[in-house]
């Protein structure tokens, strides 16, 4: 039974994936990264600069595109979803399957878009290979996180305009606004010990967390160590890294859990 239901989810995943892999937008998305990474590598010989530029763009673009693409996919495939709902399938499998299909194809085009230029550049065997891996892993995490958030929002809101608006707002919040309040808070309370607050606050924003994880791979990570012992201890150690990846994983799991919960109760 369990085996059977698993394969059904895989099938939905597979078909969503095949559907998307033929979508023009996925290719445009992939081509963008190809072009961008190629030109970065071509313009700059310094790989760590390339990684930083790519990171800056990815941290903004991956969450935005993942959210927009997912919510569009969800709303556009609403009738098909209804068809699926009428089949002898479990609801959670339908939605999680679709979600995995969307997040998976987004991740795939990201991976291809970044990897081909780096591979041609000769990243394998280079010392920078871990930076590249970190970038790719962060990209995958961000795709899955923001895709899940968008699915969750779409499930909660029948009204497309509301759904879109909310998704953009969530993206804007994590990409920019959160850091604004964060910085404001730090400046405002700068007479208090802030290390623990700072670390906690960065764990509550997946984009911040991703940025820190990439920066930790680069030389400039040393700048972060200036601040104090807790930073040094947590950011400079394997423990900190594992905690950061763990919380990224939680950022994926919690919205998926939300999708499941809403999907099981919702009327279509």
């Amino acid at each position: 039974m369990s085996y059977q239901t698993e394969t059904i989810m895989n099938k939905i995943l597979k078909y969503s994936f095949f559907d998307l892999v033929r979508s023009r937008w996925i290719y445009i998305y992939c081509a963008f990264y190809l072009l961008f990474t190629f030109s970065l590598l071509w313009l700059s010989s310094d790989l760590s600069k390339v990684v930083i530029s790519l990171m800056n763009v990815m941290l903004v673009l991956v969450p935005l595109i993942a959210s927009m693409f997912s919510i569009m996919y969800f709303y556009n495939s609403r009738e098909f979803t209804e068809l699926l709902l009428a089949q002898p399938l479990k609801r959670s499998h339908i939605f999680i399957g679709q979600y995995l299909g969307v997040a998976g194809s987004l991740s795939l085009s990201l991976i291809i878009g970044i990897s081909i230029p780096f591979l041609l550049y000769g990243i394998i065997g280079s010392a920078e290979i871990w930076n590249y891996f970190t970038l790719v892993i962060i990209g995958i995490f961000l795709s899955f996180i923001f895709s899940a958030i968008a699915f969750f929002i779409a499930l909660r809101h029948e009204n497309r305009i509301k759904g879109f608006g909310l998704t953009i707002l969530v993206w804007l919040f994590f990409a920019v606004i959160y850091d604004g309040f964060f910085l404001l808070g730090l400046v405002f309370f700068n007479e208090y010990p802030l290390e623990n607050f700072t670390l906690a606050a960065s764990f509550f924003n997946p984009i911040d967390l991703s940025r820190i994880l990439i920066l930790l791979k680069l030389d400039i990570s040393a700048l972060m160590g200036f601040t104090g012992a807790v930073f040094r201890k947590l950011l400079g150690s394997g423990l900190g890294m594992s905690l950061a990846y763990l919380s990224l994983a939680l950022w994926v799991i919690i919205p998926i859990w939300g999708i499941r919960r809403v999907a099981l109760r919702k009327d279509f």
């Binding site: 059904i8 099938k11 939905i12 078909y15 969503s16 095949f18 559907d19 998307l20 892999v21 033929r22 979508s23 556009n76 495939s77 609403r78 009738e79 098909f80 209804e82 068809l83 699926l84 709902l85 009428a86 089949q87 002898p88 399938l89 479990k90 609801r91 099981l264 109760r265 009327d267 279509f268």
Partner: protein, 245 residues
């Protein structure tokens, strides 16, 4: 086969279903009629498990369907608007549905019947509305399930396809199936339906055979009979009813 007991459903303040009791047994074609917003679609969605009723129960073969999913293996559903993943081809859609249901299906004959062969390798996004509806019919009817639910099956069909559809419906009935249809086309109902259920404001206002309905209101035409129901109950209704004709 299927019995619905005291079904209630409200979306917010809007009470869509207010105590529906129905049961369908054995072979037969029932047309579910009613003006827009009367609760037809919600009723169907309740049977499909897409909408959870607030109160009441639906039983299929003696088993409650609440929060179940496996029972849907015993029903075929033809959705109202035929929209599918745009980038799949027709053939891929068929194999997807077959794949998901894990049932043997007899699609070829239906494909032949509707002349869909040339379209099998076309993407769904490139099909006209009528062709999509044919695809929609095939994907729903290719399984041999005892319960068939069709939501506006005639939408966008050309006269030839319409004839084919009627043939299929009659044939399925002969094979002992319970068939539920919603439609706006009254002569379609007159041609194929055995029984009629008329829903208004979430309540059943008539349930019985087509001939009984006509006889009750002394009208030869179904449309006239229905107009009588509406006039008799509520003088406002005829205006709204006009929208379904």
């Amino acid at each position: 086969m299927i019995s619905i007991n005291n079904l209630h459903k409200a979306f917010g303040k809007n009470k869509v279903l207010q105590g529906i009791d129905l049961s369908f047994e054995g072979a037969g074609i029932t047309a579910i009629l009613g003006p827009n917003g009367s609760g037809k679609t919600t009723l169907i969605k309740c049977i499909l498990g897409m909408v959870y009723p607030d109160k009441g129960d639906i039983q299929l073969g003696g088993q409650s369907i609440r929060h179940e999913w496996a029972y849907r293996d015993q029903l075929d559903y033809l959705p109202q608007i035929a929209r599918f993943p745009e980038n799949l081809t027709v053939l891929e859609l068929f194999s997807l549905v077959k794949d998901l249901r894990k049932r043997t299906a007899s699609g070829e004959e239906l494909v032949e019947l509707f002349g869909l062969k040339p379209f099998l390798n076309k993407r769904l996004s490139n099909l006209s509305g009528g062709t999509r509806q044919k695809v929609n019919i095939v994907q729903a009817m290719m399984f041999d399930s005892p319960l068939v639910i069709m939501d506006e099956p005639t939408a966008g069909l050309d006269p030839v396809a319409m004839i084919r559809l009627k043939e299929i419906i009659r044939r399925e009935k002969e094979r002992g199936k319970t068939i539920l249809i919603t439609t706006h086309l009254m002569n379609f109902v007159e041609e194929v339906a055995d029984d009629v259920v008329f829903i208004l404001e979430g309540k059943i206002h008539f349930k019985g055979s087509l001939s009984a309905l006509k006889a009750q209101y002394g009208e030869a035409q179904l449309e006239q009979a229905i107009a009588h129901i509406l006039e008799g109950k509520d003088p406002k209704i005829p205006n709204r009813f006009s929208s379904i004709c």
